[in-house]
Structure formats: structure tokens, C-alpha cells
């Protein structure tokens, strides 16, 4: 169970009045003010100098929003450490402790806090906020489509909502597991005291926060009417909102995800507890690492693509304009170089979390652990070779259709292994039907459908019917919403007690589950139906022959929304007033359940030593033996003295 409480927690370390330096004055509000002020200065200067010249509006928007991002990050404290480093004024241990939130109570959630648990919680809330925005936009889309020619939204607004719904959901799903859980849970799981680079960790969070306002600014800058794929040359010609969109992506993908990915990989590679070999790490760590590595490949590509886009728009280059020596196909290639790996960036950590859940709630070891690892690695390496299946019908290189058909279909082999691992773990287990397990079963149901519909799309002759069609929309919602996001929801239910110190109210949660599970099928079977009938994606008005299918989908979507809102209510209610959680409510065996709740700063009062993997269910080993256990008491010293091992600052 939990390790005995040490006499002195790091949190209780008294700090001097100057600890933290500039951080003492910085928080989200300061960031907001600094961002707005710098953006205003940027607007005044750029408007005076550039407005009226060629591409003037684009340059003004670019400069202003870049100033916002930089200003916000100055205000919140992202740049403190690099500039302290460059002048040789390194932070002291006191500064580090202040940065980790010591002595700040709830205020640390509004600050540039380096404690990985605070960052994870911040991510958790941010993800829910993003899903709320994206979900609202989805509801507006479905409301528009409830009749064939609804006057709810104009075409321009509709297109922008389609774009922003897509992008905000992509952002939210990319960080929905790697944000909250890879930050909060993963370091504890592997026995680390923090992430490898705590400051970069905080940076990855606040950079996303600063990237969201530019995305929402598109609504007042003319709208991005291109869909989240922003195919050129349409996006080159779009209103200035497209510049805001590109700023958001460059900030989010180019900085935040890249930095977070590096941090995850380094943490798992170098900071595992003593005795935790790579074959003993929880499977969730493998999923997170492969996902992070894939993100490290995909996100720089997104950065490059969007940088070229912004130069095309704001300086008149012609990367993507065929008439001027560019190629729309260049955009498609570079974009999908990012676009397909990104799907697996979203999917892998969620499925890995489900494997943990399957093991804990079947009371069995993860089945075929090494095959699961191989499947992750296989998916990761195949994922970078399949991008052109998004371009089967674009006219680019029809002769390459066959090789890309091959790689695309090959990826179903490792994906199949993931199913084998999940059902193999369930096989003859003792199914403990708590809420996380519900979501595992829903994942199995949904992801099979998502996978099977995916093979139609992987076949060029069938893809010629389904490409750009509502069938495709339904397919990727089955994989990303029904698969990855349901998995992430399972992970929320699983780790909620550890993250919040409260039990999630399962009565409300199970009500939400049934709404979600059933309404989801109604919504997206409606969209499969639309697709079979031949309805294109992303249209605001449609032929009345698609009416019934759309109404089915919209009604399902309303109930789906209701389900998510009930779940949100369960989370909020439980977080505020839920039953106090024991340290290990699931009687699970991985390390995060061995520390006390709430988890103290630097997690482990004594360094853990690992002698087996965390899946020793049914092996006749009494709990507490052959298990990650507390080491014999080393000399515990007051925090702040040098005899402590914690993540140091990054350079």
C-alpha cells in the first residue's frame, strides 16, 4: 500500500521571501496582460508600417498574434530560465522549490509551476475546456444539418466552425493522454521524482494555452473556410484568419508537442527506478514513448508546413501556388507527413492506458506484453510510411497507390495485435466491472468498427467512393472519438482517484456511459448511412435525400452531448465533494498506487526499488512482496539539502 508518511514533506519547506525571483510576480493574469499589451504594441507598429502594402493585413495579423504569444509567455515566465541561464545567474534550490509550487497553495495552478503533478492537473482542465469548446462547435454543426437547408449558420460561419472544431479537437486529443497522464502519472509509474525537464514541462503547457486564443481569433478575422487540413491554394487565399490559424499550429505543434515529446522520452529513458528494466516498465510508458517519438517526427513537419504557409500568405512566396511555380501537392505531402502519424500519436497512449485498465480490472497480467510493445513500435514505424493514402484521389502519383495500399493495410497487423493483447488480458480474468472497464468494452466495440471501415478506405477503388464523404467522417470519429477518446475517458476514470484524491462518482458516471455508448452509435451510424448515400463532407446544405440520415445523426449527437455533460458533471461533483480516495482503490500493482494520495512533492519519500513488472496478478505473491517496494530507509534529510534527487532545471 502506501509508503509511510515521512516526517517532513518538501511542501512544508519554509522559503525565504525572495525565493523564486521573478516567478513570484508572474501568473496567468500577468501573462494575459503582458500578451495583450505586447500584441497592442505589435499591432500599432505593424499597422503603421505594413498596412496597405502587399499582404499588409496578413503581416499585421501575423506580427500581432506572434507578439501575443511571446508576450503571454514572457508574462507567465517561460523565458525566465533561458535568460537567467544566459547571464549566468542560475536558480538556487529555493528558487526551484518555489517554482515547484511550494508554499503557494491553490495559486500554483495559475502559475508557471514545474511540479509535474500540477502540470498534469492543468493539462487535465485545459483538455476539458478544449473539448467543451470543440464539442459546442460540433453541436452547432449538427444543428445546422438537422434540416437540408437550415438558416442556423451562414456558409462562411459553417466552414469556419468545421475548421475550428477539427483543429481544436486535434489539439485536445493530442494532449488528452500525453498531457494529464503522461505528466501526472507516468513519472510516478516509473519511479521518477519529476519529469526530466520540469521547466520544459511547464513550458509545454503554457505554450498550448497561449496558442488557443489565436485559434479562436479566427472567428473575428474572417474565418478559415478550408477545413483543418487547410489545403492549398485555398488556404493561401483565405481571409487573414488563416494567419492566426498558422500561428496557433506553429506554437502548438512546433513548440509544445515537440518539447513535451522530448521530455517524455528522456524521462522514461533515463529516470526509471532502480531495477525497472525496459521489460518491467508499465505498458503505458511504452505507449507514451512511442507516441512521443512519433510526435517528434510529425510535429516538426507540421511546423515546416505552416511556416511555408505563412510565408506564402504574408510575404508572397509560392510554395503552394501552382501558377507561380509551387504545388498544392507539396502542401498535401508535407501536411500528411504530419497528418497520419499524428493519428497514432493520439491513439497509442490511450490504448496503452487501456491495457493497464484491462490488467487491473481483469486481475490478470497484460497478455503478451512483448507483442504489445512490438505492436506499438510496429505501428509507430509503419505510420510514417502511409501518408499518401490520404492522397489516393488527389491525382498525385497514381502509380504509388499500390505501395501505399500495402503499407496502409500492413498497419492493420500490429493494430490487430493490440486487440489480441486486450482480449487476451480479459480471457478468463475476473472482470471487475468498475467504470474504467466499461470504457474498455466500449473501446473494443467502437474500434473494431473504426478499423473495419478503415480497410474500405485503404483500398483505392472503394476509396474513390468514400473519400471526402461522410463515411470518412464517421470512420475517423469511430477511431478517434470512439477509440482514442473513449480510451482516454477510461484513463480519466482509472486515475481520477490518484489525481484528485477523490473517488469518481460511478453512479453518475455509469449513467453518462450509457448515454455516450448508445448515442455514439446512433450519431455515427447515421453518418455511415449518409456516406453510403453519397453525401460529401463539410457541406452546410445538402440534398434532401440525405435528410433522414442527418436527422438520425443529429439526434444521436444531442444525446451524445448530454452523455458527455453528465460525465463532466460527475467529474466536477466528485472533484469537489467526492469520497476521499484511498491510496490504491483499485488494488493495482504499479508504482503510482504505492505512493500516498495526494502525492507529495517529488513523489517518493524513499526511493523505490523494483523487482518485477507490475502485473503479478494471480502469481501467488502476497501484495507488497515481489513488488515495487520501499527501499530500506535511507537517511531522510530535510528537503532543500543537497541529498535529494529531483529533476533539475534544463539548460
Amino acid at each position: 500500500m502506501s509508503i509511510a508518511t515521512a516526517p517532513l514533506l518538501l511542501e512544508d519547506t519554509p522559503l525565504g521571501p525572495k525565493a523564486g525571483g521573478l516567478y513570484r510576480r508572474q501568473n496567468a493574469l500577468v501573462g494575459l496582460i503582458a500578451g495583450v499589451v505586447l500584441a497592442a504594441i505589435g499591432w500599432v507598429i505593424s499597422h503603421a508600417l505594413l498596412q496597405g502594402s502587399n499582404w499588409g493585413s496578413d503581416m499585421v495579423v501575423t506580427v500581432t498574434l506572434t507578439c501575443w504569444v511571446i508576450g503571454f509567455n514572457i508574462g507567465i515566465g517561460t523565458f525566465n530560465a533561458p535568460f537567467r541561464w544566459v547571464v549566468g545567474k542560475d536558480s538556487t534550490r529555493e528558487d526551484e522549490l518555489y517554482g515547484a509550487g511550494v508554499g503557494q497553495g491553490a495559486a500554483r495552478y495559475w502559475k508557471y509551476c514545474t511540479d509535474h503533478k500540477v502540470v498534469g492537473t492543468q493539462y487535465f482542465v485545459l483538455v476539458m475546456v478544449l473539448f467543451a469548446i470543440g464539442g459546442t462547435l460540433a453541436m452547432m454543426i449538427r444543428t445546422q444539418l438537422i434540416t437540408a437547408h437550415s438558416s442556423f449558420l451562414s456558409p462562411g460561419t459553417y466552414n469556419n466552425i468545421v475548421t475550428i472544431h477539427g483543429m481544436i479537437m486535434i489539439i485536445a486529443t493530442i494532449i488528452m493522454v500525453s498531457g494529464p497522464f503522461a505528466n501526472f502519472i507516468l513519472p510516478i509509474m516509473i519511479g521518477a521524482k519529476d519529469m526530466a525537464f520540469p521547466r520544459l514541462n511547464a513550458m509545454s503547457l503554457w505554450v498550448v494555452v497561449s496558442a488557443v486564443p489565436p485559434l479562436l481569433a479566427t472567428f473575428v478575422l474572417g474565418g478559415v473556410d478550408t477545413g483543418w487540413t487547410t489545403y492549398a491554394p485555398l488556404s493561401v487565399q483565405a481571409p487573414p484568419a488563416m494567419d492566426a490559424f498558422a500561428i496557433c499550429i506553429i506554437t502548438f505543434a512546433g513548440v509544445s508537442v515537440t518539447v513535451a515529446g522530448i521530455n517524455t522520452i528522456v524521462t522514461v529513458s533515463t529516470m526509471r527506478a532502480k531495477g525497472m528494466t525496459m521489460s518491467r516498465v508499465p505498458i503505458f510508458a511504452w505507449g507514451s514513448v512511442v507516441s512521443a517519438a512519433l510526435g517528434l517526427y510529425a510535429m516538426p513537419a507540421f511546423l515546416t508546413a505552416m511556416s511555408m504557409m505563412i510565408t506564402d500568405r504574408a510575404t508572397g512566396t509560392s510554395f503552394f501556388v501552382n501558377q507561380l511555380g509551387g504545388a498544392g501537392w507539396l502542401w498535401e505531402n508535407v501536411f500528411w507527413t504530419m497528418g497520419h502519424p499524428e493519428v497514432y500519436v493520439i491513439l497509442l497512449p490511450g490504448t496503452a492506458a487501456l491495457m493497464e485498465i484491462a490488467s487491473t480490472f481483469s486481475r490478470k497480467p497484460v497478455f503478451a506484453y512483448k507483442a504489445a510493445v512490438a505492436a506499438f513500435v510496429g505501428i509507430g514505424s509503419l505510420a510514417i510510411m502511409v501518408w499518401a493514402h490520404h492522397m489516393f484521389t488527389t491525382g498525385w502519383a497514381p502509380n504509388l497507390a499500390t505501395p501505399f495500399m500495402l503499407t496502409t493495410e500492413l498497419i492493420s497487423i500490429p493494430t490487430g495485435v493490440i486487440f489480441l493483447v486486450l482480449i487476451g488480458t480479459i480471457w478468463k480474468g475476473s472482470i471487475w466491472a468498475r467504470l474504467p472497464m466499461y470504457f474498455l468494452y466500449l473501446f473494443l466495440w467502437n474500434f473494431i468498427i473504426g478499423g473495419v471501415t478503415g480497410i474500405y478506405l485503404s483500398d483505392v477503388p472503394a476509396d474513390q467512393f468514400f473519400h471526402g464523404n461522410m463515411f470518412t467522417t464517421a470512420h475517423f470519429h469511430y477511431t478517434l472519438l470512439g477509440g482514442a477518446m473513449i480510451a482516454a475517458t477510461g484513463a480519466v476514470c482509472y486515475w481520477f482517484p490518484k489525481m484528485t484524491g477523490r473517488m469518481l462518482n460511478e453512479r453518475i458516471g455509469k449513467t453518462a456511459f450509457w448515454f455516450i455508448a448508445i448515442a455514439f452509435q446512433v450519431t455515427y451510424f447515421g453518418q455511415f448511412w449518409e456516406g453510403f448515400q453519397g453525401m460529401p463532407r463539410r457541406i452546410a446544405f445538402y440534398d434532401p435525400i440525405f435528410l433522414r440520415a442527418n436527422q438520425m445523426s443529429t439526434i444521436g449527437a444531442y444525446f451524445l452531448m448530454l452523455g458527455w455533460m453528465i460525465l463532466l458533471a460527475a467529474i466536477i461533483v466528485s472533484w469537489r465533494n467526492g469520497k476521499i480516495a484511498p491510496a490504491n482503490p483499485w488494488h493495482a500493482k504499479s508504482l503510482e498506487w504505492k505512493v500516498q494520495t495526494p502525492v507529495p512533492l517529488e513523489n517518493f519519500l524513499v526511493d523505490p526499488v523494483v523487482t518485477s513488472d507490475p502485473y503479478t496478478y494471480g502469481e501467488g505473491v502476497p501484495d507488497g512482496q515481489n513488488q515495487p517496494s520501499a527501499a530500506p530507509e535511507p537517511e531522510l534529510v530535510p528537503a532543500g539539502a543537497s541529498e535529494s534527487t529531483s529533476g533539475g532545471g534544463a539548460s
Binding site: Y109, M139, T143, Q323, N505, P544, A569, K579
Partner: protein
């Protein structure tokens, strides 16, 4: 985060109802804000322009209502200048960050009765150039397939097509899916190249110098029709972007009631 000291008691009576109600309220608020913004875009700020009734007329032996619709194009969309013709006086366009986007006025939403003769008069003030697709230099779908063009010096001619290299805009209408999908109308609006200020200048409008294009068509069945410009009237590579892709400038709806 849970505060262990403050909440030692077990699960209190759950305020789920209040939370759900709050969330629903927030959701409704966000939807309301969205509807507010989108409705602004959907209906032009100067409202829907209802065609003026001219009584009834007889076409091909059938008696039907006859209505008139007047509007114009603006070279400089952000200037708030008095409109020619009928209707309220301000230019109903949205500024989306560009100073030089052309626009249609009075409104981008029109209303005409179903199955009636509609006589349209367009004052075209803008400059122009070659079309991308010469097909749009022809008149499609009007009565007799022709339109009457009056130049600034007052000469009138009835044409069924115009020089494809001198088109300012087009007025192209099609039924939205499901509403009379075969309805189609396209009329080229000649460029104002002959005018003294032909570089998209607003002063033509001050001088009242315009090409006036008049044509009649028989409106389709009840429903909503979309119209837009099919000439590349934006700038540079964005000739078909920018202004063409931004709602409220070169496109709109015709409600047939």
C-alpha cells in the same frame, strides 16, 4: 485538487443537478453567442432587400407577378458612401481586414416571389479583367438569354455575351441542393474600363458613372437560392480567394417566397 484537511466527511449529497443545470446554461450561452455572430453574417446588416412590386405581367401566355430588384457593386468596400438606387443609405459590407475588397450592395440577401418575372438592374462601378472561364462571359438563364447593357454615356445594347477579357463581376445564381437544383442564371457585368477612374476607384460612384446591366428572369420555386460572383475579382493569386471566400462580399442568398 482535494484538500485532505477540509473534506474529511464522506460523500456529501451530490449536487449533480445543479452542476448539470449550470453546464446546460453555459452550453446554451455559447450557442446563443454563436447564433448571434452567425446570424449577423447570415443576414446582411441592412436586412433582406425585398424586391419592389411592379404589378403583374404576362409571359408566354401566363400571368405572373412582376418585381424589380436594384443593386450595385462597390470598388472600395470599406468606405461608407451613399448608395445609388433604392434602399437605405449605408454600404452593408463587413470589413475583414482588407481595405480594397470589392463588394456588392445594397445587401447580399434578396427576397423575390416565386414563379414571377424579376427585372434586375445592376450598377457596376468596378474595374475588371479577363475571366478564368470564358463560359461565364455568356448570359445564361435570363429571358431570351440576353441582358441590356447601358454604358456611362447612355448607349444601350442588348447582348447575349460580353468580351471575356473585360468582365468586372458576374451575377450567378443557382439553387441550393434540394431546391430547384436545375435553376441557373449567370449574367456578366462588364468592366468599367472606359471610365476615367477605372482602377477600382470609388470616385466613379461619386460621379454616378456606371455600367448599368438590366435583365429579367423567371424565379424558380419557393426556397433558397445562392448567388455569387464568378469573375476573379480579388487580388493577385487570391483572385478567387480573399473577397470571394469571405462571406458578405461577393456572394449571398435569394429567398424565393
Amino acid at each position: 485538487m482535494a484538500d485532505p484537511e477540509k473534506s474529511q466527511e464522506d460523500e456529501r449529497k451530490s449536487p449533480a443537478f445543479g452542476v448539470v443545470a449550470t453546464l446546460l446554461g453555459v452550453f446554451a450561452f455559447i450557442v446563443a453567442v454563436g447564433v448571434f455572430f452567425s446570424s449577423q453574417y447570415y443576414t446582411s446588416p441592412s436586412g433582406t432587400v425585398v424586391a419592389q412590386s411592379l404589378g403583374t405581367t404576362e409571359v408566354n401566355g401566363q400571368s405572373m407577378p412582376h418585381v424589380a430588384l436594384n443593386f450595385q457593386t462597390y470598388p472600395n468596400s470599406t468606405g461608407s458612401r451613399n448608395a445609388q438606387g433604392t434602399g437605405p443609405g449605408s454600404v452593408p459590407v463587413h470589413s475583414s481586414g482588407s481595405d480594397s475588397w470589392p463588394a456588392y450592395g445594397m445587401s447580399n440577401v434578396f427576397q423575390v416571389p416565386a414563379h414571377s418575372l424579376v427585372t434586375v438592374t445592376v450598377h457596376q462601378y468596378d474595374s475588371g479583367g479577363p475571366l478564368n472561364n470564358p463560359w461565364f462571359s455568356k448570359v445564361h438563364g435570363t429571358q431570351d438569354g440576353t441582358a441590356t447593357v447601358t454604358t456611362p454615356d447612355g448607349t444601350s445594347s442588348t447582348v447575349s455575351s460580353w468580351d471575356q477579357n473585360n468582365i468586372g463581376h458576374t451575377f450567378t445564381v443557382r439553387g441550393v441542393p434540394g431546391y430547384d437544383p436545375n435553376f441557373f442564371l449567370s449574367v456578366p457585368l462588364p468592366t468599367n474600363a472606359d471610365l476615367p477612374n477605372n482602377e477600382g476607384s470609388a470616385s466613379n460612384q461619386d460621379n454616378g458613372q456606371s455600367y448599368t446591366v438590366t435583365f429579367s428572369f423567371i424565379s424558380g420555386g419557393k426556397g433558397t437560392y445562392a448567388w455569387n460572383c464568378e469573375a476573379p475579382c480579388g487580388q493577385m493569386v487570391a483572385a478567387f480567394g480573399g473577397v470571394m471566400s469571405a462571406y458578405g462580399f461577393m456572394s449571398g442568398f435569394i429567398h424565393v417566397v
